[in-house]
Amino acid sequence: MKFFNDRNRPKTGFSMIELVIGIALLSFAIVPLFFLGSRSTRQAFDTKEHIVASEIARAILARYMALDFQKCLQRFSQLEALEASGKIEIPMKLVDDFMFQEILASGLSQDFARDLKRDLRDVRFQVVPKFDKAVDPGEIIITVKVFWPKGLAVDGPISELSVESIKFRENP
């Protein structure tokens, strides 16, 4: 059944093809809307990851700052030897660090342990000391770098955050 037969059909107005083209254009226009919501969520995730990484970096730096100056130098020599012998891989995985191991062994609830493993499983860190090896150094510049995958893809781009401090011999 036709609302208008060909005889009664008005001679002006939009054709079917014009309407379809119009709707198709409108469809393309709304595609960017899809990305708005997911982008805001992604940004919130990124902020959270930065906070987690900065806490890890701060904790590891605090560890070295709390050490006696000579012991700190010993630790850096030990790390160098361990890396050269292939016993450790640098950047190190956070899950292999004693900070992570200690807390997991302390009897966390199942959900707590699951979240901790999920959030930190791909995080790595590296401690870079800078000092004059030729002389007995009076200071060490310690940089802690933390790496984590950006987004959900493990093989995707890597984010990096670093904190730095100077450790003086006279103020161990």
Binding site: K2, P10, F14, M16, A44, K48, A66, I103, S106, D119
Partner: protein, 182 residues
């Protein structure tokens, strides 16, 4: 240019197409709102983590006391603030499975703002662990405190929860900006 007007069939087809597009738009708006809600929850969660860790960092001895209190006991911690007149008090009530954190802010005009993270929008679990020394690959690390914090928004729309682990060492010279100023 003359044009033929649409038939009923054409009207039905176009209306169906328009309805389908409208449904897609509504779906996009709905999921966008949901995403925004998830994003807001995450922002709140990370803000809480930041507040707790930042304030705990100010006093190692106080943090050690936190471990020594028994479940169902509580401890209060006064936090220094930028303007020196506003008092911020964190009250931590230890439970069997973690803790409950209450932040009480007293402003210079006497107004008090109390926020109970557990009863409002967050559920937090905190695990404190004190180690006198730790041997790692033959190396002895000094006394330290390890803290793991897990925060879950109460609404649970997104089932988002975050966990973080960090350590504190006495006399590490790593202080918060407020401590550095004082």
């Amino acid at each position: 240019m003359s044009r033929k007007a649409v038939t009923l069939l054409e009207v039905v087809i176009v209306t169906s197409l328009a309805t389908a597009i409208l449904l897609v738009i509504m779906n996009v708006i709905s999921s966008s709102q949901q995403n925004y809600s998830v994003g807001t929850e995450m922002m709140d969660t990370q803000l809480m983590m930041e507040q707790v860790l930042f304030n705990l960092n100010s006093d190692f001895k106080k943090m050690v006391e936190l471990i020594d209190i028994k479940p169902d006991e509580s401890i209060e911690m006064l936090v220094r603030t930028m303007d020196q007149e506003t008092r911020v008090l964190y009250k931590f009530e230890k439970s069997q499975n973690g803790g409950r954190l209450i932040k009480k802010t007293t402003f210079p005009d006497g107004k008090i703002l109390e926020k109970d993270f557990q009863s409002t929008d967050m559920i937090s679990e905190v695990k404190f662990l004190k180690a006198d020394k730790t041997v790692d690959e033959g190396f002895v690390w000094p006394e330290h405190l390890t803290i793991a914090l897990r925060v879950t928004p109460r609404s649970q729309k997104s089932k988002v929860s975050f966990a973080i682990v960090t350590q504190f060492y006495p006399d590490s010279l790593i202080k918060s900006p407020l401590d550095r100023r004082n």
